[in-house]
């Protein structure tokens, strides 16, 4: 065994995939045990529901980010985009309430606007990256600033709040459940399944990985690189839009503080899940676990008193690095153990 470990960077393929999948899951299980030991209420039904519902926002966005990152891109604009879409949704729904009164149509109208905006914003990121040949980092850094300022401008620096009539109709989308599972979690599950199928069972997913590994080779292999890359950004925009649709009914408001740092949380969830930041390899299932890990950390910190509040960020940092170590580093330690 130890000989094959020295043989080089390419161990048996099946084994590598196993660790990539099991690493994040192992981290999550350890975290759950830790949470339970610190406070048994962690595994209470109410708390589990809270964690799942909360992780839906970052999780849905992160599924989109998995495609972007797998294809070698990056999208820093998702947090601002979510705030922007939420803001515009609230403005149009308030307008619709004023013009026609509050009804189910008001909410559907808002949701429609959200989808159009998400797809449009994703297309802009994709178009500028592929056709204007600007690095994704710069394009999305730019759009991140633009969306953030726009929502601040629309809200006059304050907060946009949804009119009460529409609020009452829309509220159940976040707070109600089907088969005891809240709707946001259903949306998350659905997005994750569709994402997994797209990534692992379709040509699109294979193209994403091919482009992320080597764009030039992909181009010579007759893959329409620009089109696929643009599609990943549109998919990302669509995911942001879906996340926003379930976010708005929660507090019925949007402000400049909405979605701050969601982009980093989404990227962290993707990387914790085993996707390579440099592209070429994507795991939707891992991303889902990554999002759960991130949410669980915050929840555990709220449920315990033994760690000073001032150190919350440090604990998060340690767990994130440790989780990634488990899926990268476990390759080596796992083999050593196997050799023993």
């Amino acid at each position: 065994m130890s000989v094959s470990a020295h043989e080089g960077a390419k161990p048996a393929r099946g084994l590598r995939i196993d660790f990539k999948t099991l690493g994040p899951l192992l981290a999550l299980i350890l975290l759950v045990i830790l949470g339970y030991l610190l406070n048994p209420l962690f595994l209470g039904e109410g708390n589990i529901t809270n964690i799942l519902t909360r992780s839906a926002f970052i999780g849905i966005i992160a599924v989109g980010a998995t495609f972007v990152i797998t294809a070698g891109g990056i999208d820093l604009s998702v947090g601002s985009m979510a705030a922007f879409i939420a803001g515009v949704m609230i403005i149009v729904m308030n307008w619709a309430v004023g013009a026609m009164g509050a009804s189910l149509w008001t909410v559907l109208f808002g949701i429609g606007c959200s989808l159009i905006l998400g797809v449009g914003a994703g297309f802009i990121n994709g178009f500028l990256t592929t056709k204007a040949k600007i690095e994704a980092f710069i394009v999305t850094l730019g759009t991140m600033g633009i969306y953030r300022s726009l929502v601040t401008y629309f809200a006059d620096g304050g907060t946009l709040s949804l009119a009460t009539g529409a609020r009452d109709i829309y509220r159940p989308v976040y707070y109600d459940s089907f088969l005891r599972i809240p709707y946001p979690v259903w949306v998350f599950i659905l997005v994750a399944i569709v994402g997994w199928v797209l990534m692992n069972r379709t040509a699109f997913g294979r193209y994403c990985m091919a482009i992320g590994s080597n764009e030039h080779v992909a181009r010579y292999s007759a893959i329409k690189v620009d089109r696929v890359k643009t599609a990943t950004y549109i998919l990302q925009g669509l995911c942001v839009s879906l996340a926003t649709i379930i976010y708005v009914p929660r507090l019925g408001s949007a402000s400049a503080a909405t979605g701050v740092l969601w982009e980093l949380e989404a990227i962290a969830a993707v990387i914790i899940g085993g996707t390579m930041l440099k592209g070429g390899f994507g795991r939707v299932g891992g991303t889902v676990i990554g999002a759960l890990i991130l949410t669980a950390i915050g929840n555990i910190l709220n449920l315990t008193e033994i760690i000073s509040n001032y150190l919350n960020g440090a604990v998060q940092g340690v767990i994130i690095v440790a989780a990634v170590y488990l899926q990268r580093g476990s390759l080596r330690t796992g083999r050593k153990k196997a050799a023993e």
């Binding site: 406070n39 209420l41 209470g44 109410g46 708390n47 809270n50 909360r54 300022s149 601040t152 401008y153 809200a155 006059d156 620096g157 304050g158 907060t159 709040s161 707070y175 929660r250 507090l251 408001s253 402000s255 400049a256 503080a257 909405t258 915050g298 929840n299 910190l301 709220n302 449920l303 008193e305 509040n309 001032y310 919350n312």
Partner: protein
């Protein structure tokens, strides 16, 4: 708001280039404040812009220039620009952070400007000519007094704090000091970053952790809105009440209407920037002395007096 401010700044600059020769007599006052990144600062920006309109209309020889900053470094650069480009006679500044901005403000002072500091004090108070501030200590104490008046020995409360800063610590320490000896248990405190989403999540966790909560000190109205949603979700509205702080219009409206869940608010008004601009202008227009320290009250806002703190047009 910041876009508007930039546009205003550009207009002001072009007006200056055009008419600089004719307007030598004009008194120029720079106003440097943080950008509108959250509710309270949004309100502060709005009140600053309102005060600018009002004061410039009332005093033709006064020219106010508002600049907004995204962080301490950005604000330090703003101060340099106000001195070198705008050549201000006076400065009204709400420092992003106390320590990093003490020296930059001192440099403005050394350039000959009259200095008004708002809200967050500098580490060297001799720099300022005027200091205007809300009262964090009184805010903490008044909140504690109200909670004590409603609860009995053995009752339980939870606390949601803001962002770890001097300002937050002042409030918290004053509150804890006033609660001492009351026999009311503080179950736990967590940071909610003056943010609705964090307020919602932290409160959800408090609710699943503690079966018996009688009151919540959220000390901020944005946090309060998140807390209220979490309590409603858990269906525990009848068990507890929430005390926020600042004076957001939605909360004041609720207090006016007799909301049982959020029965009071404690004032920490973003309009204090307008007070600071008023007294600074008064330095040039009044025949009375204005220099000194102005600590604004942090009164308890109840159903009886809520009307006078209600600004329906403000974004906050």
């Amino acid at each position: 708001m910041s876009l508007k401010a930039i546009a205003l700044g550009l207009l002001a600059t072009s007006a200056l280039v055009g008419g600089a020769v004719a307007q030598d007599e004009k008194i120029k006052i720079g106003v440097s404040i943080p950008a509108a990144t959250h509710g309270f600062m949004g309100g502060l920006n709005w009140h600053a812009a309102e005060a600018e309109k009002r004061l410039e209309a009332a005093h033709p020889n006064i020219d106010l220039v508002i600049v907004t900053a995204d962080g301490p470094e950005d604000q330090a650069s703003d101060l340099e620009d106000l001195v070198s480009v705008q050549q201000i006679d006076a400065l009204v500044v709400l420092p992003f952070e106390s320590e990093p901005l003490t020296e930059p403000v001192r440099a403005v002072k050394d350039a000959g400007a009259f200095i008004t500091v708002v809200d967050r004090g500098l580490t060297d108070p001799t720099i300022q000519d005027i200091y205007v501030s809300g009262n964090n200590t009184e805010m903490g104490v008044n909140s504690a007094e109200y909670i004590k008046s409603r609860l009995n020995e053995g009752d339980n409360i939870v606390i949601l704090r803001g962002i770890p800063t001097v300002l937050d610590t002042e409030r918290f320490d004053a509150f804890m000091g006033a609660m001492e000896g009351s026999g009311i248990n503080v179950l736990d405190d967590e940071f909610a970053n003056w943010n609705r989403d964090d307020g919602f999540e932290v409160m959800q966790d408090f609710l699943s952790r503690f079966p018996d909560i009688d009151a919540v000190w959220a000390q901020d109205d944005d946090i309060t809105l998140g807390v209220v949603e979490a309590i409603k979700q858990a269906g525990r509205e009848s068990e507890m009440f929430v005390v926020g702080g600042a004076g957001m219009k939605e909360i004041i409206k609720g207090v006016m209407d007799g909301d049982a869940l959020v029965p009071v608010d404690v004032l920490y008004s973003p309009a204090q920037i307008a007070t600071a601009m008023d007294v600074t202008v008064a330095h040039y227009t009044s025949n009375g002395p204005v220099t000194g320290t102005y600590i604004l009250g942090a009164p308890l806002i109840t159903q009886e007096n809520a009307e006078e703190f209600y600004f329906p047009d403000s974004p906050f």
